[in-house]
């Protein structure tokens, strides 16, 4: 069953203390070529029936993101599509 993924990220101009903390820690791990880290939320929504993008958008808008400081994007993902190398 495909699921809906909502990515919620702070707007680009908003301070992201979480990303900044990670970026600052990287040199400690010997990583010096990262210029920026931004951290947001990834929300996976499974519907009991057909996945409903409009519904998901409504949920994101009302519940998952605060439009004052966050943007979100929505997409359908196949359940077993790990979108990359799941480690």
């Amino acid at each position: 069953m495909p699921r809906v993924v909502v990515d919620v990220m702070l707007k680009p101009e908003i301070l992201d203390p979480q990303g900044q903390a990670v970026a600052n820690a990287l040199p400690r791990l010997g990583v010096n070529d990262v210029s920026s880290v931004r951290i947001g939320r990834r929300v996976e929504i499974e519907f009991s029936g057909e996945p409903d993008l409009d519904r998901a958008r409504e949920i994101a808008d009302k519940l998952l993101a605060n439009p004052v400081i966050e943007d979100f994007s929505i997409r359908l993902v196949e359940a077993d599509d790990t979108e990359g190398a799941r480690s």
């Binding site: 680009p12 101009e13 908003i14 301070l15 203390p17 903390a21 600052n24 004052v68």
Partner: protein, 655 residues
């Protein structure tokens, strides 16, 4: 900052709330390269005048250029004054600065004439090391030690984004305390929400509580008390006030004066971003496409970890005597810090704005000056100590950057000027005192609200009283169940009361008690109280009652009350009814303090707390601080468990 923390520079212009509303109409014609005289060789060399910033040079050459001052909340006569002071039109950056510093928020233009009473009526005190006008009042409590405390509001941001609004409210008041040379040691949070069962309260309250807790807990400051009050009048305008208490050795007291020509001006802490620029963005709307409004959030995001580092770094700098002057950056950002520090010393200042570390490289000069980015402090440092300062900052992992230097007063003894350049362009050249001290002052019209007589006539005595045991039982149950009287632990359990290990009393006690000196047991007690319903019925006595309640709470914990802080939450000062309520409340508080013999040492005014034309109840929140020579002698509120035959006796005092 000595400003009203929650009312942005643009409050009067009402363009801040980011509801995705229309972009304000641009009023600035885009200047063309040819039209501007290219007289300044530096400007000319920069070679990008058409797209460059509005310089002093250009301002001189284009005296008739239309400027969007009304959108920035400045009145015609205020704008005229600015032109007189500068003897030309202000540049964009200067206009932004004046609009910020002359706003209600920073200039106290409507409240000033009333607040004077706090000083005039105050009893003489030899304990007061710093009083009204400083970042926070400082009170000596022993030969070596002093405490500082203050309450501020962050009401409007907390309605828009409850978590971050409340969090940055705590962050702001903590920096005020830090700027006095004190280590912050406790916080309190008087809160007002709409009806407990209103759906929006379910959004606002949990967010505010989590924000107060999140920031305070992460800074390691115990929360030792506060208030949670529900009333429909706060539905569209909750009150989020935050109090911070700090401790300092008497000889570590800091001040904000940028003394000593040649000293270096250092910006320490977070990078500067487009936070809370709000109304100032109208200045850019001519050069940005429509979407630009989107890029200017009015809500700041707090970073308590950076603040914690800032605290430790500052305290280390104070102890090593490495700073001459220090000022926190609050609601009015660099504008306020630069002008206040220079004005306090009568010196001038030269600032290279491009040295300010930016989160977004595309920021323009007026945006950098107006940014409300959190977790920043401005230091004035002797050149030979700069390296040691930068080292300390590095040790704690906070950014510190020399952005300018203190310049001498003028040859004729007149104060110096604040000169700000940006990539070689002179964008600001002003007398700093004109922004800080020469702002407008209004004696606004006042009129007793027309409905007051009716309200007062509807006396409590006329209400039906429970007459039967059943009715009495019913009344008691209703009271117990009422949100205003119920147990507050859902809120207070989200706050760390133990951290720092000096909390002697906290929730649910009448006042919070903090041990200041582990050796001697010296400590202080603090309570914050307010009752908007009383104040609505009678602002003069309502304010007195708030003071009396707070005073009593401190006294019954075993402490001797010695100082008062306050946060005056009111509707629009342009409404004569509100202004009357304000004047009465201030008069009541000042009289009450005189009667009790303790001074107001500081506070904060928050106006424009209203939804449309409906103002909140006038809500003066009063904090009283008392001293305990030995915290072991504190009196907790509960009856002590009885052992054997020794039973506590119960007395009722008073009428």
């Amino acid at each position: 900052m000595t400003t009203q923390s929650d009312i942005g520079a643009s409050e009067a212009a009402e363009v801040t709330v980011p509801t995705g509303g229309p972009v304000p109409t641009p009023r600035i014609p885009v200047p063309t390269g040819e039209a501007a005289p290219v007289a300044n060789p530096v400007d000319a060399a920069a070679g990008d005048l058409a797209d460059g910033p509005d310089t002093v040079q250009r301002a001189v050459g284009t005296p008739d250029e239309l400027q969007p001052y009304p959108e920035l909340g400045l009145r015609d006569d205020e704008y005229e004054r600015i032109r007189q002071i500068l003897d030309r039109r202000p540049t964009q950056a200067e206009l932004a600065m004046y609009s910020i510093m002359w706003s209600e928020h920073c200039s106290y233009k409507s409240s000033k004439v009333h607040l004077r009473q706090f000083g005039e009526k105050a009893p003489p005190s030899d304990r007061l090391l710093a009083g009204i006008g400083e970042n926070a009042g400082v009170v000596q409590i022993s030969d070596e030690l002093a405490v500082t405390f203050k309450v501020e509001s962050h009401n409007h941001p907390s309605f828009v984004e409850p978590y971050q609004g409340a969090a940055t409210g705590v962050g702001g008041i903590v920096r005020d305390i830090l700027a006095m040379g004190a280590r912050p040691v406790a916080v309190m949070d008087p809160l007002r929400f709409g009806a407990a069962d209103h759906p929006d309260t379910a959004r606002v309250l949990p967010g505010v509580v989590a924000g107060v807790g999140g920031y305070g807990n992460c800074l390691g400051l115990p929360n030792i008390g506060g208030e949670v009050v529900f009333d429909p009048c706060y539905q569209g305008n909750p009150l989020v006030n935050a109090l911070c208490l700090g401790v300092l050795p008497v000889d570590r007291l800091q001040n904000k004066a940028a003394a000593g020509a040649g000293n270096v001006v250092v910006l320490m802490g977070a990078k500067t971003g487009r936070d809370g620029i709000g109304g100032v963005s109208v200045l850019a709307s001519a050069t940005f496409e429509e979407a630009s409004e989107q890029r200017r959030p009015s809500v700041q995001v707090g970073d308590p970890f950076t603040e914690k580092l800032l605290i430790e770094a500052c305290l280390e700098l104070y102890d090593a005597q490495l700073v001459v002057g220090i000022q926190d950056l609050g609601g009015a950002g660099l504008t306020c810090a630069l002008t206040e520090t220079a004005a306090a010393a009568g010196t001038g200042m030269r600032v290279w704005l491009e040295r300010v570390p930016l989160r977004e490289p595309s920021m323009e000069p007026h945006e950098i000056l107006a940014s409300e980015s959190q977790e920043r402090m401005l230091l004035v440092v002797e050149p030979e100590k700069l390296e040691a300062v930068l080292k300390t900052a590095e040790k704690w992992g906070v950014l510190a950057t020399a952005i300018g230097e203190v310049t001498p007063a003028q040859a004729d003894g007149q104060p110096g000027r604040l000169l700000v350049t940006w990539r070689g362009h002179t964008v600001v050249d002003v007398p700093p005192g004109s922004l800080v001290d020469d702002g407008p002052v209004y004696a606004r019209p006042m009129r007793e609200p027309a409905d007051l007589i009716l309200l007062q006539a509807d006396r409590a005595e006329t209400l039906p009283r429970p007459a039967t045991p059943d009715a009495l039982r019913e009344t008691v149950l209703r009271m117990i169940a009422s949100p205003n009287l119920c147990d507050k632990s859902w809120v207070t359990e989200q706050y760390d009361r133990y951290v720092l290990g000096n909390t002697i009393l906290a929730q649910p006690e009448d006042s919070g008690v903090i041990r200041i000196d582990e050796e001697t047991g010296l400590g202080v007690a603090l309570s914050v109280d307010g009752n908007g319903r009383y104040a609505r019925l009678d602002p003069y006595n309502g304010a007195k009652l708030a003071l009396a309640e707070s005073y009593r709470n401190v006294a019954v914990s075993g402490a001797k009350p010695i100082a008062v802080t306050n946060c005056l939450n009111f509707g629009s000062p342009e409404d004569p009814g509100v202004m009357w309520q304000f004047a009465e409340a201030v008069r009541g508080l000042a009289d009450g303090c005189a009667e009790l013999g303790i001074p107001v040492t500081g506070g904060n005014v928050s106006f424009y707390n209203q939804t449309g034309a409906a103002a909140i109840h006038p809500t003066p929140v009063v904090g009283v601080l008392g001293v305990l020579d030995n915290v072991a002698e504190r009196v907790p509120m509960g009856f002590a468990p009885t052992t054997g035959a020794e039973r506590d006796l119960i007395f009722l005092l008073g009428e």
